[in-house]
């Protein structure tokens, strides 16, 4: 008996297999996730939502009387294996059910749980024995009684977050698998799923040029001398933002821990675990702040770089004027402007998504040695950039990209190296140039044929 092949097999230029089996495997995977989400969601609903709904809608309201009070102790074990005690006020309520008096203990909600017994005792002391209180009992089990009603929305939100994500991921995946059931990859790409994938692409495409990124945000800033001012993609800016975020978040955690430790010490309790953690955490926090301010100083000391260009988008074989302006008072041992072509590939490795970049073509447009800016005047230079006649156009798809950029590299006298990137978009050759290329192609055909 021949077993079915679950996935299509690549054999040179052709594949054979049963596409339905591949779709079935994919559908099963997402169906399991969807089922897990529904089951967990169901448990959450029955454990949290339904009891709260019953209290608010089904429990019978009566007037009860406090006939006893005390505190209930709960013992929990934390992540480090430390046993902790918590205390809750508890009251004994007497209330009428169908003409008979029923007595039942009621403990307060989580909000009234105290880590110290005196606090819980203080809370229960406020209750006076014999006082009349409104209460609600379960008609199906009359000994279940509550003294408060309402919904804990934040708790619902938290408990529904995980099943919600599973249902959304599994459901959309199942729909996707159902949409592609038994369909070839070409058919899927040509039909509705292909359209949806195009809509979901992170970058907009240029009109009439599929897979070429739109350059609207590259031509919306006019230059002072030339036509357009190019935006910069400075890696330094991201480094500053990243180090600032890290310093902020880390120190926020340190402050929260420090406040907790402070309250403990003020209450006469010393948590040595917490104090032991606080010392290295504070050290890392201070180091993060120092690194952040050092990076800010590096970025601001060198000064901004501006690049203006005479036209955009670029075309193969075209020649363009470029104006470089480097502000700041830092002297450079070497400054160079480079035109680069970079390939970018995104792939999965295990559960990680990785992106690899590789520069495949580079040409130095101009290089300056010993740049000494005059006080208050930026260094300015106008150069010409020539795009190779057979240059590849800019390309961007879901997992792959071919990008052009002008890169400014500098070696300041006393500061770390400067790197500023100015992306540009190159379209394919114009129709006229394409016609010229067609002649070259015909010649090549004849060469091949002969």
């Amino acid at each position: 008996m021949r077993l079915p092949s679950f996935f299509s097999k690549k054999r040179g230029e052709r594949r054979t297999g049963l596409p339905a089996w591949g779709s079935l495997g994919e559908a099963l995977y997402y169906a399991v996730l969807l089922a897990a989400g529904l089951v967990i969601g169901g448990l959450m609903l029955t454990g949290v939502a339904v009891p709260e709904w019953r209290i608010n809608n089904r429990f019978v309201e009566v007037s009860g009387r406090l006939v006893g009070k005390g505190v209930a102790r709960h013992t929990t074990v934390d992540l480090f294996g430390v046993r902790r005690k918590a205390w809750r006020p508890a009251v004994l309520v007497e209330y009428p059910v169908n003409g008979e008096l029923v007595r039942s203990w009621n403990t307060a909600g989580l909000a009234e749980t105290a880590s110290r017994r005196e606090v819980a005792v203080g809370l229960v002391t406020e209750q006076e024995l014999g006082q009349t209180v409104p209460c609600w009992y379960d008609p199906d089990q009359v000994t279940t009684v509550v003294l408060k009603r309402g919904y804990s929305w934040w708790f619902w939100l938290l408990t529904l977050l995980l099943p919600g994500a599973l249902v959304a991921f599994g459901g959309s995946g199942l729909l996707h698998a159902a949409g592609g059931w038994g369909r070839s990859e070409e058919r899927r790409a040509a039909e509705v799923w292909g359209v949806l994938q195009r809509l979901a692409r992170p970058l907009a495409e240029a009109e009439g040029y599929p897979t070429i990124p739109a350059c609207d945000n590259l031509v919306n800033s006019p230059g002072t001398v030339l036509r357009f001012r190019l935006p910069t993609e400075s890696p330094e800016a991201w480094t500053v933002l990243g180090s600032g975020l890290f310093a902020g978040l880390w120190n926020a955690v340190v402050v929260v821990l420090a406040i907790g430790a402070g309250f403990d010490v003020a209450g006469g309790q010393i948590d040595w675990w917490l104090l032991g953690l606080l010392a290295p955490f504070s050290l890392v926090g201070l180091l993060a702040i120092w690194l952040f301010f050092r990076r800010v100083l590096l970025v601001t000391a060198i000064g901004p770089s501006h690049l203006e260009i005479s036209d955009h988008p670029l075309r193969p074989g075209g020649c363009y004027d470029v104006l470089l302006s480097q502000a700041g008072s830092v002297a450079f041992r070497r400054l160079e402007l480079v035109l680069e072509l970079e390939e970018q590939a995104t792939y999965r490795q295990g559960t990680d998504v990785r992106t690899e970049r590789q520069v495949v073509w580079r040409e130095v447009v101009r290089c300056w040695n010993r740049v000494e800016p005059l006080p208050g005047t930026p260094f300015e230079a106008e150069v010409q950039v020539r795009v190779p006649p057979r240059a590849m156009h800019s390309f961007h798809s879901t997992h792959n990209a071919v990008s052009w950029r002008l890169v400014l590299r500098g070696q300041p006298e006393r500061w770390p190296a400067l790197l500023r990137v100015f992306p540009v978009v190159i379209f394919p050759a114009s129709e006229a140039a394409a016609a010229g290329a067609a002649t070259a192609v015909q010649q090549k055909r004849h060469e091949v044929a002969s």
Partner: protein
């Protein structure tokens, strides 16, 4: 890479014979300029026509290299045996035919280091029982030179 590509004999299953797919591009080679009209003739041999349930003809580009594969289909046509709907398909022979379409301006064929873009004509045959057979025939759009690693940056 020029001229027709012929699939080598391959047994699909015990009951099916071995398809041999031939695609002939217009002119002397398989090099096209952006916006040019693609004309490709195909012929499938060695298959019992009655076992073919559907044929899908497509013109597509796809990426190769280090990244995940991206696929763009610019022409797609599927004909199910016994369900020819248009006049053009009325006298349709499932195992021979012509694909004619105007090629887009981009993306151009590209042979990079970690990203490659290839154009192809694909013919996918579906057989009784659900098994399929695909034959892919590469052609080139544009004349972009092969990328080579640049000299390292001088420090």
């Amino acid at each position: 890479m020029n001229g027709p590509r012929r699939a080598s004999p391959q047994r699909l299953s015990g009951s099916l014979s071995t398809p041999q797919v031939t695609v002939t591009f217009r002119g002397d080679g398989n090099l096209y300029t952006p916006g040019e009209r693609l004309l490709a003739r195909y012929r499938v041999e060695g298959v019992d026509e009655t076992l073919v349930t559907a044929v899908e003809r497509s013109v597509a580009w796809y990426s190769e290299g280090k990244g995940e594969e991206d696929l763009g289909v610019v022409f797609f046509d599927r004909v199910v045996a016994g369900r020819q709907v248009s006049e053009e398909q009325a006298g349709w022979q499932p195992l021979t035919g012509t694909i004619s379409m105007k090629l887009p301006l981009c993306p151009l064929s590209y042979e990079g280091l970690i990203v490659k873009i290839r154009w192809c004509v694909r013919l996918r045959l579906f057989f009784v029982g659900g098994r399929d057979f695909v034959s892919e025939h590469i052609f080139f759009l544009g004349d972009i030179p092969v990328a080579r690693p640049p000299e390292p940056v001088a420090s």
